[in-house]
Amino acid sequence: MSLLVLGANSLIAQATASHFAEAGHEIIFAGRKQDEPEKYANDFSIRYKVNCRAEYIDALDYPTHRKFVEDVLSKTPQLDNVLIVFGYLGTQEKAQADFDEAHRIIDTNFTGVVSVCELLAAEFESRKKGNIAVISSVAGDRGRQSNYMYGSAKGGLSVYLSGLRNRLSKSGVNVLTVKPGFVNTPMTYGMPLPKPLVASPEKVGKDIFKAMKSGKSVKYTPFFWWWIMKIITSIPEFIFKKMKL
């Protein structure tokens, strides 16, 4: 029993991993900043008395992904759970004026995830078991002027995951698309968000853990985002395009 976390610095990832650790799973924290995955691995090994270790991965350094996956699998051959949390919100206005920003948003949220996820998917497919959860976003359900760069990358990711799930279902590998709404994390800190809609990372982490364990396909978290997005996606385009969203 083990969990590989890609994007160790995320509070949502740590909250999800805490449930796996409590259930006795080995945790592998991977991230881009050298010392941080180590800090989390260390904390988890004290807190939950489980085996933990840190690995280095840069979402945008695609050529290194194969070696990364091989390394992880050689150390943990029985790896059975993966949680991918890579993400970059960026700034919409900056991305409109500067393609480098748009590029980074698209690559971190989409290309980077696809690159590493394919490698892990192939392994799980050949073994005919495994559990892959990837954090997409409600922002990917419909493009809005305030963050369509991020939204489109996440939207692409949701479509990718839907296809991957379709491919892997016959192999018994579960693919979970997680669509969080507003979560109280450093990513959203300082934004003027409607407080009652903002969930804690702990709440979202618990939802993800439960959804992974029960083999769900798509999880809106907290649940009410399913309703909110149902309404938002059902607004006719001729009205939607004039709305300030």
């Binding site: 610095n9 941080e36 989390y40 260390n42 904390d43 004290i46 807190r47 450093p186 800190y189 300082g190």
Partner: protein, 449 residues
């Protein structure tokens, strides 16, 4: 660096001020806060007044810098980031036979906060305050340097930071010693007493047998009921003393049950009538007895009700905690109590306990007696507290900065005479430009001039 503009206060919800709040994740972000202006760190905001409020700069929350760094299972020495809370420690270590050596009455306190307030618990008269179990800590000071402090290394900064209300720097890590226990239960002895005389003689009578001791005081009752109280004594329970049923329960994973006061009650439910009714019922129902209690119920009864401060409505509450020297003893407590009873402004949360000797500069405890009370904020309360200040000063006592929201500079400097000057010399050495400051610090003159 990202900020949120929030109307902040301490746990007492009085006073309030609009602050720029940051939530740094790592040292580089704390340094960014320092570049943006003056800084006070804030953990869970459990100090009652304005100790973790700073409306002239930045409030930097330590909450996501909350990782365990190392733990030695043979000595019980834990090193962790300053945002780690008592709850984190209890959840992790009680089942392994370790307990915080000193704990305040809530587990929603960070290690950084516990150090900056040098918190004490029901065992102070025997085992001292939090700092007595601090081996060392790491702090980021105004120059941007990071220093390790202990009784041997940077000792002046060590002592100025203990009880220093966060004004010497941003505490990053603490290394503390936990206490070995053999069960999560305590032996709890309640002794129902009629007056202060009985209480003071019972303090002495049970001194040798119990580690924890605190008395609940009825500070509304007058006439023949004046001064009635219940002395609560306790010891950690050996697992061999437990009943079979409790032994089984102790081995299971502990699941907390909680209720919450979801919103501020819009009017003051606490008045002389409701408190008198409560206190009567509480005292009548109480029996002198001995039983076993789980640590969560024994140490943190109020944590069971999340946001219990909401019952004090929007206007909030004032906590008043005084410490008077042993020799002033019963007479001083009697004077304070008479004043409070006469005002009728008291609440049902009043405790009296014996305190022991304590090293430190601004650390609150010293050998004597401490009385802690809370009052709903209303007309006349501040004036009454000023009258209490005068009694306290008169007997060579002082009040607790962590609870305080009303002290003025002159009174503070009289109470901490000889100590604040010593502290200020160290403050000037490490933070001459007053980069670390708070509303409390400015109110009571803990700033280099």
């Amino acid at each position: 660096m990202k900020f949120e503009e929030i109307e902040l206060s301490g746990f007492g919800k009085y006073p309030k001020a609009l602050c720029k709040v940051a939530r740094p994740n790592g040292i580089h972000e704390v340094l960014e806060c320092l570049k943006s202006g003056s800084v006070i760190s804030r953990g869970l905001g459990r100090s009652y007044g304005d100790a973790s409020v700073n409306d002239s700069g930045i409030v930097a929350e330590s909450l996501i810098m909350n990782k365990f760094i190392s733990f030695d299972d043979s000595s019980g020495i834990l090193r962790c980031e300053a945002g780690v809370t008592y709850k984190d420690i209890l959840d992790t270590f009680v089942s392994r036979g370790w307990f915080p050596a000193v704990t305040p009455g809530t587990k929603y306190v960070t290690m950084g906060g516990a150090l900056a307030s040098d918190v004490h618990g029901k065992n102070h008269h025997k085992e001292g305050s939090f700092s007595s179990y601090v081996i060392s800590f790491k702090i980021l000071i105004a120059s941007g340097e990071i220093l390790e402090c202990s009784r041997e290394q940077n000792a002046d900064l060590f002592w100025a930071t203990v009880g220093g209300m966060g004004l010497t720097g941003f505490i990053l890590e603490t290394e503390i010693r936990l206490k070995k226990i053999s069960s999560p239960y305590l032996v709890n002895k309640a002794v129902k007493l009629k007056n202060l005389d009985e209480l003071f003689s019972n303090f002495e009578e049970h001194d040798a047998d119990y580690l924890y001791s605190v008395a609940w005081m009825d500070i509304v009752a007058s006439g023949s009921k004046y001064g009635r109280n219940i002395l609560l004594l306790g010891n950690h329970c050996e697992s061999t003393e437990l009943t079979e049923k409790l032994r089984r329960k102790a081995a299971e994973k502990y699941v907390e049950k909680k209720i919450s006061v979801p919103f501020e009650i819009p009017f003051t439910t606490l008045n002389k009538l409701s408190i008198t009714l409560f206190n009567n019922a509480y005292y009548m129902k109480a029996r002198s007895k001995t039983d076993f209690q789980h640590y969560d119920k024994y140490f943190y009864p109020l944590d069971f009700i999340l946001n219990w401060n909401h019952i004090y409505s929007k206007s909030g509450l004032i906590q008043y905690q005084l410490n008077i020297p042993e020799e002033a003893g019963k007479d001083a407590v009697d004077k304070v109590l008479k004043k409070v009873v006469a005002s009728g402004g008291g609440s049902f949360l009043a405790v009296l306990k014996k305190m022991g000797d304590q090293d430190g500069i601004l650390s609150f405890p010293f050998k004597g007696y401490t009385l802690s009370m809370d009052f709903p904020v209303k007309k006349g309360i501040i004036e009454m507290c000023r009258e209490l200040d005068a009694i306290v000063l008169d007997h060579g006592g002082r009040t607790y900065l962590t609870k305080d929201s009303i002290l003025d500079e002159k009174t503070f400097k009289q109470m901490y005479n000889g100590l604040w000057e010593k502290w200020m010399d160290i403050k000037i050495k490490y933070d001459p430009e007053n980069k670390f400051t708070s509303n409390l610090a400015r109110r009571i003159g803990l700033c280099p001039s």
